[in-house]
C-alpha cells in the first residue's frame, strides 16, 4: 500500500506531537527538531522507535540521525567545523537532507538544525518506496 507524501507527513506529525509534547501546528516541514521542537538526545531514540512502529519499518539508528558518529571522529571534525571529508561523509549518510546552507558554514553546533521534520518525511518516503 503506497502512502502519499501528505499521509506520511500526517503520521510523522503525530509521532512528533506524541514524542515531544508539541502542538500540531508547530510541526511544520521546515521546523528543526532540536531548535524549534526542543528535542533532546533521548527523544531521537524515542522518535526512531515510534516511526518504526507507525510505518512498520526498521530504522538503523545511524541512518536517520548519523551526527553522533561524525562528531566523535577527529578526521571529520576540526576546530568545531566539519572537514571536507566529514562533509562528504554527511552527504553520503544524509541523502534525504538538504545540506546546501550548512556546507557554507559547517559548524557542528548547527548540525542539530539539519534534522528537520521535512528530512524525516523524506527519509520515511525513501524507506517505504525501497521496501
Amino acid at each position: 500500500m503506497a502512502m502519499s507524501r501528505d499521509e506520511i507527513f500526517g503520521e510523522v506529525q503525530e509521532v512528533l506531537v506524541d514524542a515531544l509534547g508539541v502542538d500540531d501546528d508547530e510541526v511544520t516541514s521546515g521546523a528543526t527538531l532540536m531548535g524549534d521542537l526542543g528535542a533532546e538526545s533521548i527523544d531521537f531514540l524515542d522518535i526512531v522507535f515510534r516511526l518504526e512502529k507507525a510505518f512498520g519499518i526498521k530504522i538503523p539508528r545511524e541512518e536517520l540521525f548519523p551526527a553522533e558518529s561524525l562528531m566523535n571522529n577527529p578526521e571529520f571534525v576540526n576546530n568545531g567545523k566539519l572537514t571536507e571529508i566529514g562533509l562528504g561523509e554527511l552527504r553520503e549518510k544524509m541523502p534525504h537532507t538538504d545540506l546546501a546552507g550548512f556546507e557554507n558554514d559547517p559548524d557542528i553546533n548547527k548540525l542539530g538544525d539539519l534534522f528537520t521534520v521535512g528530512a524525516i518525511v523524506n527519509y520515511v518516503e525513501g524507506k517505504l518506496n525501497s521496501a
Binding site: D18, I42, L45, D46, F49, M71, N72
Partner: protein, 156 residues
C-alpha cells in the same frame, strides 16, 4: 538499583514482559504527610515502581550487562488512588529494545481495576552520551535487588 520499591515478581518472560507486585502500607512514613488524614501513594512513586519493574525487565534482557537508566517518561496517566492496604500489580512490556535503549509500556492495577498507564524509555548509558565514560562496575544492578528475582516464576 539503590533502593527497592517493589516487593516481588510474580511473572517474568525474558525480553518481553514482567509482572511485579507491591504492597502499600501505612508504615510508609510519607503516607502520613501525603496527605494528612487522606493517605494516598504519591503518583511519582507509582512511576518509580514501574521504572523498577520495567528497568529490571530491560536489564535482564541483556543479562544485566548494561547500565539501564530511566531516560524519559513518555506517558503517565492516573485513573485512581492507591491507598494503604492495597496490593498493586505492575505489568511492564518491552515495546522496542536496541543496543542503545529500550522503550516499555506499562499498566498498574489494583484488584483488577486500572490505576495507571506508564510508558517509559531507558538508556543503556555506556552506549550513549557520545562516548562519555562511566564507572566499570554496574552501579544499577547491584546485589541488593537480586533478592527480588528469587521466587519469581521465570518463564524465559
Amino acid at each position: 538499583m539503590r533502593w527497592i520499591w517493589i516487593d516481588k515478581f510474580v511473572e517474568f518472560h525474558s525480553g518481553q514482559r514482567a509482572v511485579a507486585i507491591k504492597n502499600v502500607t501505612l508504615a510508609e512514613e510519607h503516607l502520613h504527610d501525603h496527605f494528612p488524614g487522606f493517605p494516598v501513594m504519591p503518583e511519582t512513586l507509582c512511576i518509580e515502581a514501574m521504572a523498577q519493574t520495567a528497568g529490571i525487565l530491560v536489564g535482564e534482557a541483556k543479562n544485566f550487562e548494561e547500565k539501564v537508566i530511566l531516560a524519559k517518561i513518555k506517558k503517565a496517566a492516573f485513573f485512581d488512588y492507591v491507598k494503604p492496604g492495597d496490593t498493586i500489580k505492575l505489568e511492564a512490556k518491552i515495546e522496542s529494545i536496541t543496543d542503545e535503549a529500550a522503550s516499555t509500556t506499562g499498566r498498574i492495577s489494583c484488584d483488577g481495576k486500572l490505576v495507571a498507564e506508564i510508558d517509559l524509555m531507558f538508556s543503556h548509558i555506556d552506549k550513549n552520551l557520545a562516548g562519555k565514560e562511566f564507572p566499570q562496575e554496574n552501579f544499577v544492578f547491584t546485589d541488593t535487588f537480586k533478592s527480588l528475582m528469587r521466587g519469581a516464576a521465570f518463564n524465559s
